[in-house]
C-alpha cells in the first residue's frame, strides 16, 4: 500500500491529468421556514470544496458526522443537484451530469458508488442477482439477461460469494455479505472511479478488515481509482494514499499519507490522529479531546469553522476565516498557524 502512496504522489508532480476535478463545489439545502416572516436560511452541507483525484490513487475523505462527506459524493455523482461549482471528469465538465444521453450513461457506468448502509441500499423485493444484473442491462454492458447473469456469477466469485446466491433475496444475507453484493453491483459495469461512502462503517471490525482487503485486491485487479469516505481515520489511513479532511462542509486539510501523520498539520487533523487506537500497552501521551459537538451547519461560525472547538484558537480565529494554504507539495491546510512552505 505504502509504495503506491509514493507513486500517487509522484503522479501528481508528473503532470498527469486528474481523473476527477472538483472546483468550488457548493451544496446548500434550504431550511424549512418556521415563522411567517423569516429570511431564507440554508444548511451549508458542502461549501467551496475543490480537489483533484488522480488515476490509480485512493483519496480518503475523513471528517465527523455531519461534515458533508456523503453529500459531497452524492453531489459529484449528480444524485442531488449542486448549488454551484463545477465537476470535471477526464477534463470534461460533467456538473450535475448535464451531458448528452449517451454521455450520461457512460458516466453512470464509469463512476459508481458503494453506499453506506448495506441493509437499506438493497431493494428487499429484488433478488440480488437481478440487482447486480440490472445496471449491466441498463447501461448496455450485457446484451442479454443470460450474459448479465454469467458476468454477475463470475463477479460474485471474485468477492468470495458462491454463485448460487444469485437467486436469493437480500434479507437472507449478513451485513458483510450484503456489502460484498453492493461491491459486485458497482463493479459489474466496469467502473473506473469508485466512491465508497462509509462502505465499511456498518460492519463489524473483523468484517471491516476483510472488506478493506477486498477493496485493495479489487483495486489491483480492476485498475480502480477510489474516493473512500469515512469518519474513522484508522480505517481511512489503511486504504488511502492521500487524505482530505473535512469539517462543517469545508476542506480543512489535504495531505498525503505521510504528511498527515507528520508534525505540520491542522489542529483538527491532530485531534483525529490522536483518536486512532494504538495496539500498545504504553500509556497514551497526548490524546487530544475535542469538546462539544459539531456547530450548527445553518449558522456556521463567523471565523474559522473549527474555532469553537480548537485547542489552538486565538482571537483572530474567531474573526477571520483562514484560507487553504499550501504548506508543502500537494499539502494544503486551512489554519492561521500552519507553517507555510519556505
Amino acid at each position: 500500500m505504502r509504495e503506491e502512496a509514493t507513486t500517487a504522489a509522484g503522479a501528481e508532480t508528473a503532470d498527469i491529468q486528474p481523473i476527477l476535478r472538483v472546483e468550488h463545489l457548493t451544496k446548500l439545502f434550504p431550511v424549512k421556514k418556521k415563522k411567517l416572516i423569516e429570511t431564507k436560511r440554508f444548511v451549508h452541507a458542502v461549501e467551496d470544496v475543490s480537489f483533484d483525484v488522480y488515476p490509480g490513487e485512493t483519496l480518503g475523505i475523513v471528517g465527523e458526522s455531519g461534515s458533508g462527506k456523503s453529500t459531497l459524493a452524492q453531489t459529484i455523482l449528480a444524485l442531488t443537484p449542486a448549488t454551484s461549482g463545477e465537476v470535471y471528469y477526464d477534463g470534461k465538465k460533467i456538473t450535475n451530469f448535464k451531458v448528452g444521453g449517451a454521455g450520461r450513461k457512460k458516466l453512470r457506468q464509469e463512476m459508481q458508488m458503494i453506499f453506506q448502509d448495506p441493509y437499506a441500499s438493497l431493494n428487499p423485493k429484488i433478488k440480488v442477482g437481478d440487482a447486480i444484473a440490472e445496471p449491466m442491462l441498463v447501461n448496455g454492458q450485457a446484451k442479454s439477461r443470460k450474459e448479465a447473469e454469467e458476468k454477475a456469477k463470475h463477479l460474485l466469485e471474485t468477492v468470495g460469494l458462491r454463485p448460487e446466491v444469485y437467486d436469493r433475496y437480500p434479507h437472507e444475507f449478513s451485513g458483510g455479505q450484503r456489502q460484498r453484493i453492493g461491491i459486485v453491483r458497482s463493479l459489474s459495469v466496469n467502473p473506473r472511479l469508485l466512491f465508497c461512502d462509509e462502505s465499511v462503517s456498518a460492519l463489524d471490525v473483523s468484517v471491516q478488515a476483510q472488506i478493506l482487503n477486498l477493496f485493495n485486491d479489487l483495486k489491483k485487479a480492476f485498475h480502480l481509482t477510489y474516493v473512500f469516505i469515512g469518519h474513522d481515520l484508522a480505517v481511512i489511513r489503511y486504504i488511502s494514499d492521500r487524505i482530505l479532511v473535512m469539517y462543517l462542509g469545508k476542506i480543512m486539510e489535504i495531505a498525503s499519507y505521510d504528511d498527515l501523520f507528520g508534525e505540520n498539520t491542522h489542529p483538527y487533523t491532530q485531534a483525529l490522529v490522536s483518536a486512532i487506537p494504538e495496539p500498545s500497552t504504553a500509556p497514551r501521551t497526548q490524546r487530544i479531546l475535542l469538546e462539544g459537538d459539531i456547530p450548527s451547519v445553518v449558522n456556521p461560525p463567523k471565523g474559522c469553522r473549527f474555532c469553537q472547538r480548537c485547542f489552538k484558537a486565538q482571537a483572530v480565529c474567531f474573526e477571520q476565516e483562514p484560507d487553504l494554504k499550501e504548506v508543502g507539495k500537494g499539502h494544503l491546510i486551512r489554519c492561521h498557524f500552519a507553517k507555510e512552505a519556505e
Binding site: Q74, L77, L79, R104, K105, R108, Q109, Q112, M113, F115, Q116, D117, A120, S121, L122, N123, P124, K125, I126, E134, P135, V138, N139, Y169, H171, G182, R185, V189
Partner: protein
C-alpha cells in the same frame, strides 16, 4: 406452504363457527318475534302456535341451535320465513348482484385509487397534490348515505342521466341491451360505494410511495443508471403497494356481505338490501345465511391478502 394453508383454513373455519354462533343468538335477541309480525289479529291462538311450530321457534334456543348447526353441516341454511323458499336459493339469487357491484367498486378503487395515489406522490407538495389531499380528506370523512342521496338527486332526479334505482329496467331483457342497461344502473351505486375506499387507497398509496422514494435503495437504483421511469416501475411501486393491498383486501371481504345502506338507497338487489329487508321481516334464517356469507368472504379475503402480500414482499415467511 401446505402446512400454512391447512392452519389458516382451520383458523378460518373456527372464525366462521364463532361468527355463526354469535349471529344465531343475536338475531334471536331482537325484541318481538317473526310470527307476531306476519299474523293478523284475527288468527286463532292455535294457528299462531302451529306457525311457531312450523318455524321451529317453539323449542328452547339451545335445541334450535343444535338443530341449526346440524343442518348447516349438511349445507342446509333453512327456509326463509317470509318468502318460503330455501335460504341458499335466495342468497344465490342476490349474491351475483353484490359481487357485480363489488367488482365495479374494485376496478374504480384499484385503477383510479392507485393511479391518483402515485400521481400525488410524484407531485408531492405541489398544487395538484394539495388538492388531491383535500378531496381525499373529504372522501374519508363524508357520510356515505348522504353522498348516495346527493348523487341520486343530481344525476337521477335533476339531470336524469342515470336511473333512480334497481339493477335493470324490468322486464328482464337479454343480450347486449340488457348488459348496457345493467351498466347504467351500476354507475351510481358503484360510485357512492367507492368514495371511502377510493380515498383510503389514494391516501395509503401516496404516503407509502413517498416513504419508499426516500429509501436508500431508490438512490442505489439511480446510481445504477436507471432513469426515473424505470426506478418507479421496477423499484418503487412493488414496495409501495403493500399497505394498499392489505387495506383493499380487507375492504373487499367486508363488502361481500353487502353494503346495506347504499344498496337500499339505490334499491340494488344485492345481499345488503336483503339484510335490510330480512331485519324488517325478522327473517332469522336469511339473516343467518347473509352473515355466514360475509364471514366466509372475510376469511377468504384475508387469506388471499396475506398470500398477495407475501408474494409482494419476499421477507414475509408464510409459516406464522
Amino acid at each position: 406452504m401446505l402446512r400454512y394453508l391447512i392452519r389458516r383454513i382451520g383458523r378460518g373455519i373456527l372464525t366462521i363457527f364463532v361468527s355463526v354462533t354469535l349471529v344465531f343468538f343475536i338475531v334471536r335477541a331482537m325484541p318481538s318475534n317473526p310470527v307476531t309480525l306476519m299474523i293478523s289479529p284475527q288468527m286463532s291462538e292455535e294457528a299462531q302456535q302451529a306457525l311457531m311450530v312450523s318455524y321451529g321457534l317453539d323449542k328452547p334456543k339451545s335445541v334450535q341451535y343444535v338443530l341449526y348447526m346440524k343442518e348447516l353441516l349438511h349445507g342446509n341454511l333453512g327456509t326463509s320465513f317470509s318468502k318460503r323458499i330455501p335460504v341458499t336459493e335466495y342468497l344465490a339469487e342476490k349474491l351475483p348482484w353484490t359481487l357485480l357491484l363489488l367488482a365495479a367498486v374494485m376496478v374504480i378503487v384499484i385503477f383510479v385509487g392507485i393511479g391518483v395515489g402515485l400521481f400525488a406522490a410524484a407531485h408531492k407538495g405541489k398544487l395538484a397534490d394539495r388538492l388531491i389531499n383535500i378531496v381525499v380528506t373529504m372522501g374519508i370523512s363524508v357520510f356515505i348515505p348522504f353522498m348516495a342521496f346527493l348523487l341520486l338527486y343530481i344525476f337521477a332526479f335533476k339531470l336524469r342521466i342515470c336511473p333512480t334505482g334497481g339493477a335493470y329496467t324490468p322486464p328482464k331483457g337479454a343480450g347486449l341491451s340488457f348488459y348496457l342497461d345493467v351498466g347504467k344502473h351500476l354507475i351510481l351505486p358503484a360510485v357512492a360505494l367507492s368514495i371511502t375506499n377510493l380515498a383510503n387507497a389514494v391516501l395509503y398509496t401516496r404516503n407509502s410511495m413517498i416513504d419508499v422514494l426516500h429509501e436508500d435503495y431508490i438512490r442505489t437504483a439511480y446510481s445504477k443508471g436507471c432513469d426515473s421511469k424505470r426506478v418507479m416501475k421496477v423499484h418503487a411501486i412493488k414496495n409501495a403497494l403493500i399497505p394498499t393491498v392489505t387495506v383493499i383486501g380487507m375492504q373487499i371481504g367486508i363488502m361481500v356481505g353487502g353494503a346495506t345502506v347504499t344498496e337500499t338507497v339505490f334499491s340494488w338487489p344485492g345481499i345488503g338490501r336483503l339484510v335490510y329487508d330480512s331485519v324488517n321481516a325478522l327473517d332469522y334464517p336469511v339473516l343467518q345465511g347473509a352473515f355466514l356469507v360475509m364471514a366466509v368472504a372475510v376469511v377468504i379475503m384475508s387469506l388471499l391478502t396475506d398470500l398477495v402480500v407475501a408474494w409482494l414482499d419476499p421477507r414475509i415467511k408464510l409459516g406464522g
